[in-house]
Every structure is written in C-alpha cells, then in structure tokens.
Symmetry: C2
C-alpha cells in the first residue's frame, strides 16, 4: 500500500507519518533556486498557503523560510515588536515560556498570562490584562504541543479587537495549521506561524507563516531596524513577493526539495474541501479521546472544549512508567511521545493524530495505535478500576 519500507508508525505530535508522494518529492533532482521551474514551484506554493490559511486579502503575506517552527518566534519577536514594547503572551503550556524567552532576547517585554496546567487563560482575565497596559501584540498558542490544550481564536480575536484594537493578534499554530480550522481573514488574525512537519505533512525544515497587511504595515513603520538578520522581514519580504510573482530573487538559498514536498502536500490537502479535513481530524480525535476515557485514563487538557483535534496528552495510571510503556509500544509498531511539560513530564504520554494517519483510508494507524496502547497498559499490569 505504501512504497515506504516497513517501519514503526510515528504517532507523535510531529514529525508525523508522511505520504509517499510527499517523500518522493524530497528526492527531486537538483534545481537552481533562481531558475524558472523552481521559481514557479515556490510561487505556486506561496499562493496555495493563502488557501490553507483562508486569506483572500491581497495584503496578506506568506513566508516560507528554511528553519524550524522556532524560527517563526524570531520572525515575530524581531520584526513585529521593538525593544521596549510590551507584549502579552497567553500561556497554555511549555511553548509560551519559550516564546516569551524569544521576545526577551530581542528586548521586548513579555508579560505572561498563565493558566493552570491543562487549561488556558480565560477571556475575562485577558480582557483585564488588555485594559491594564497597552500591548503591541498578543500571542496565543493555538495548540500547545506539550499539553494538547486547544485555544479558541475567534472569540479571543473579537475581544482583542473590541478592547485593544491596535494590538496585533499572533497565533502560534505549529501544532494546529492543517488540522484545526483557521479563518485568517474572518477572524482578523495578524500572524500565524507554523512548521512543515506537523499537520501540513512535510518533513521538518521549513518555517511557514502568514501575516496580515496590518502586521506588515506595523513592521514597515518600525522606528528601529529588525533585531535579527536571518529572521529579518526586511530581508525576506521582497524575496517572498518576488517568488510569488514568479520572479527570481536572492537573499538566502531556499531548499528546492523541501519546497517541492510542501507543494505536493498542499496540492493534496487543497484537492478536497478543508472542512472535510478538519472534520476527519475531529472525528478521529473524538474516537481516540473516547478510547482513552474507556481505559479510565484522564487527559492533560481538562475541558473537552480545550482539547486539541490533532493530538492527545494522556496521564498514565499511577504504576505505569513511560520509560517502560513507550519501548513496549515501539515493539508493537507504534511510536508515541513522552511528556514535555517540565512539571509533569514523567506522568503522561502524547499521541499525535494528524495528516495521513487520519485522512488516508488505506491506513489503519489509529486503530492499531489504540489497540497497542490498550495492550501496552495491560502488559504493564494496568486494569481499569
């Protein structure tokens, strides 16, 4: 069914399992990064990203840069805020701490609004914070990969636009773009950063992001130059605009192979309605969450409304240890991830369910994983109370 050699099924919250055609695109023969064939491929890729993010506003601007998801934080912190600016970082797990660190690196004052583990800051406290201080931008982790907590963007954006309309709304969508609905224009978002290796279904190595015309204007009216060279929008903006206009342009060499893989994956994703894709992720997620509950286990994300559709963070029973369970699951052909949130890292595991493992009807990854988890817990002596 697959041209890939037999291998354990990778069901961590990224990298995910990849489609054969996407992996084959990674082996594309070498092309000049400024030659017409590759320029066309890159240009089409940028245009397809607009569809994935649901933006038809011509002032929106996609960026695709060699790097990891982390580079997206630098793009935001070094370009959309200036030294001394205040930014509000909504905290729903591990990644907000790092994003705040990134802001501080560039002299930007990050105020974190922290929620207890397993939940997210609530609208009334966000409203209070926004009224207390003027924030240049607010960041929200759409899905925190360490906790599986999903944030709600639509009502958050409405709140920000009502209470502090000048504050830019920046979404860390590393673990959400491609598996959670994002209505970039309709929800009036100003920036969504993501990476290739999660629900977009392309090997790691690309930082992918989308900014509103308002965000680009904010960048262009900076009083100080950008704080980073490699992550400078001044350096990259003309490059992205030129490639999308099918004009060769050079700042740093892009990766034709990764861009080809992204082109292939976006073509596949956009060949069917996005609503179907999101519904499939939701249905699979509900099935997994039901199986977890049936096993008598609890999720890290407490409120069902806050639970991500592309991953599930599962607390282990008292006597089951991740360093024993995970290798046993590997023997059964399934790779899950350990905990990442420092305060509870040893107490839980993470099950990623994004991309072809969810959408490809020829794959039985999810059912095998649920069975493996049940058997693994049983092997460890666990019985539902």
């Amino acid at each position: 069914m697959s041209s890939q050699p037999e291998h354990p099924t990778l069901l961590i919250p990224g990298p995910i399992e990849f489609d054969d055609a996407v992996l084959q695109s990674m082996s594309h023969f070498s092309q000049s990064h400024v030659g017409a064939p590759f320029v066309a491929t890159f240009g089409e890729t940028l245009t397809m990203l607009r569809k994935l993010f649901k933006t038809t506003d011509p002032s929106s601007q996609p960026f695709v840069i060699s790097g990891s998801g982390t580079l997206g934080w630098d793009l935001v912190a070094a370009n959309l805020a200036e030294p001394g600016d205040d930014v509000l970082v909504l905290h729903s797990g591990y990644f907000a701490d790092s994003f705040a660190d990134c802001f501080e690196t560039y002299g930007v004052k990050a105020t974190q609004l922290k929620a207890p583990i397993g939940s997210r800051p609530q609208l009334p406290e966000i409203e209070k914070a926004l009224k207390e201080k003027k924030y240049k931008l607010l960041t929200v982790t759409h899905v925190d990969t360490s906790t599986g907590v999903l944030s709600e963007l639509k009502s958050l954006s409405e709140l920000v636009h009502r209470v502090s309309p000048e504050t830019l709304i920046i979404v860390d969508g590393v673990c959400s773009v491609g598996c959670e609905d994002i209505e970039f224009d309709e929800w009036k978002l100003d920036g969504v950063i993501t990476a290739s290796q999660k629900a977009i279904g392309v090997p790691a190595g690309l930082s992918i992001s989308m900014y509103s015309g308002r965000a680009i204007k904010a960048f262009q009216s900076r009083k100080t130059p950008p704080g980073s060279y490699f992550a400078s929008m001044k350096n990259w903006l003309p490059i992205m605009q030129n490639y999308e206009a099918k004009k060769a342009s050079y700042f740093a060499t892009p990766s034709p192979q990764l861009i080809h893989a992204l082109h292939t994956s976006l073509t596949q994703i956009l060949s069917r309605p996005l609503s179907e894709r999101f519904a499939a992720h939701r249905a699979t997620s509900l099935k997994i969450k039901k199986a977890v509950a049936d096993l008598g286990l609890k999720q890290v994300a407490l409120d069902p409304a806050d639970q991500a559709n592309g991953m599930t963070a599962i607390y282990l029973p008292e006597n089951v240890k991740a360093p024993e369970l995970l290798p046993n699951l590997l023997k059964k052909g399934v790779i899950f991830a350990g905990g990442l949130h420092k305060e509870i890292a040893t107490k839980y595991i993470r099950f990623g369910h994004m991309g072809v493992s969810v959408t490809d009807p020829k794959r039985d990854d999810i059912d095998r994983a649920i069975k493996a988890l049940e058997a693994g817990l049983s092997d460890a002596g666990y019985q539902k109370a």
Copy 2:
C-alpha cells in the same frame, strides 16, 4: 546510470548535482527527532563533520541547524561578538557586505577591508588594520561565490596569531567546505560556517558549522546574552553535545530527512582520502580554467593563486549577453549561473564544479559543460580574437 529523471545538469555554485543515494536519503520514512535511531544518525553525522573539517581537538564543536548558509552569519554575529565590539571583515566580493550587515544588525561594529573586484585583501594591509584597532574577530570569505576569489587561510591565520592573538578567526566556508582543503586544527581556525547544498553535496536546508574550544569559551564568557533566539548558541550548544553523545535532546525540531542525506554524503566523502577529493577538484578546475583561457576569456578572479577550485567566474565577451547565452546553454542541457556581484553582474557568468560532477567517474558533466559553453559562445557570434 542515474536513477534520477533526465534533467539539465546543474553547474552553478550551489545547489549542485546530487548523488542518487543522497537524494534517496531525503525520502527516508518519518522518524522521531528524539528516538534512538535518529539520535544515532545525527550523532554520527556530527562526529563525521569533525573529520571533514580535520579537527581532533575534543573541544571543537560542530553545529547542524535547519536553515540556510546565511544562518551561519547570525551564529557568529549573535554569539561570538557583543554589541559594541569591533570586528574586521575581509572583503573579496558580495558576501562580505552581507556578513557586515549581519554584524551591524546585532550592534557589532564591522570594519570592512575591501579589495578591488577580483582580488582579496593582502597580508600587509591586514596586518596594518590589526595593529590599528583591537578586533574581537576577523572574518574571511574562503571562496566568494560572487567572484570565485579564493582566500588563503594558513598564512592569514599565522598573521592573526602573531599580530593579534586574541582575535578569533572566522571563515565563511559556504562555497569551500568539501572542495577546498581546510585544516581546522593545524591552521588554528576558530569558526568555519558552511551550508549543505554546495561541495558537501546535500540539498539546501542545513546550516553547518564548526567552532574551536577557544570560540566556545569566548561565547561562554559573554557579558550580554546572545542577540538571537533561533541562532543562540546557548540554546543549541547542549543540543549538539547531547546528540553527539547519543542522548535525545530538544530545542527545535531538526530535519531527520536532511540529516540522513548529510549522513549519506559524509559517509561517501570520508570513504576516500580527503586529499584525493581536493586534488580532483583542483584538477577539474585547472582543466576548466584552461578551457576558459583557450576561449580567450578572462576570469573575474585575477591572480591564479586566488582562483577557487569549485567554481569559475567568467567575464563574457563584449557582444555576448548573459540573458541570451544562459537560456541557450540550458537548451544544450547545462545550467550556469548569472553574475551576482552588483557592480559587474551583467558582465559575467558563473560555472560551478563541485561534488559528484567532479568526483563521479560515471558522469561527463564537466566535459559536456565545456563543450556547451564553446558552442553557446559560437552561436552568439563570438570568435576568439
């Protein structure tokens, strides 16, 4: 002979033609970035880099990070110098200007020592500059990809160690590592930055670099935090050390596919003596340079001692225009690059001769390219005077 589909031969100064096995490694099935199999691959890759750079000093430190060659500049500028520090940038073409820009982004004062187009700063003027001011570090472009000018590292390093022993010696080896000899330990270099897509023979997407123990110490004794988040050695140093010790570690997700391709290419490169590899590049380069001279054409790099062995920048005859010649060469199955140095961009073309096009005896890329160039010039009405 190759499993790649028929395609025009890419002979620009990077990306280059890739070996079949390297391209196949790009399609590696998905692996966890923190799972034992990939951790072993990444660890071995880092260790092999020590051999490529010829360093056996255990305090040397390799870095492999998702990004382009440009990211190496940020690694240097944001970690090895501090705001207010003076650095000396030796200028042999386009890339020194950009490196200087990168330093200025991080508040570091870059003094450029510029040579006329086609040459490089000479030792006496470098000595004079080093005596006039105390420089935290000096940068040299080993091969400037815009001009094909090769810099001499051994005597430069001797000079710096004699005149200003505290100054770190940083080499931009983007267009040299893998085709020009680099004796990291013996020449007492402190940093060499490069990228995957040139003579290392791996698709673009990796920033690859090596630092001396002295450079790492200089970083560790900074008074201010690093100026970048994504390019912070504070964030990456423990990750690289852990991977090489075969311990899983996380700061940002590496690209298993690109790392597999690098592992494959380094295994191939190190399977034969490096001296053979450099001799092959030199012999091919001399053959190309003779063909260029036989055609009555001049190189941008003036002095034969300053001419790179992995590329040749060739001035066009008066009446031959690159926008007509290059498409004609493409029709003949060969891709050359246009000029890049702003002041002379329209007047010359660049011929890259690195990697498998040079070392694989089954390929006739170079001979075909020389013949295509001769025929293309003839088609354009050029006759040797």
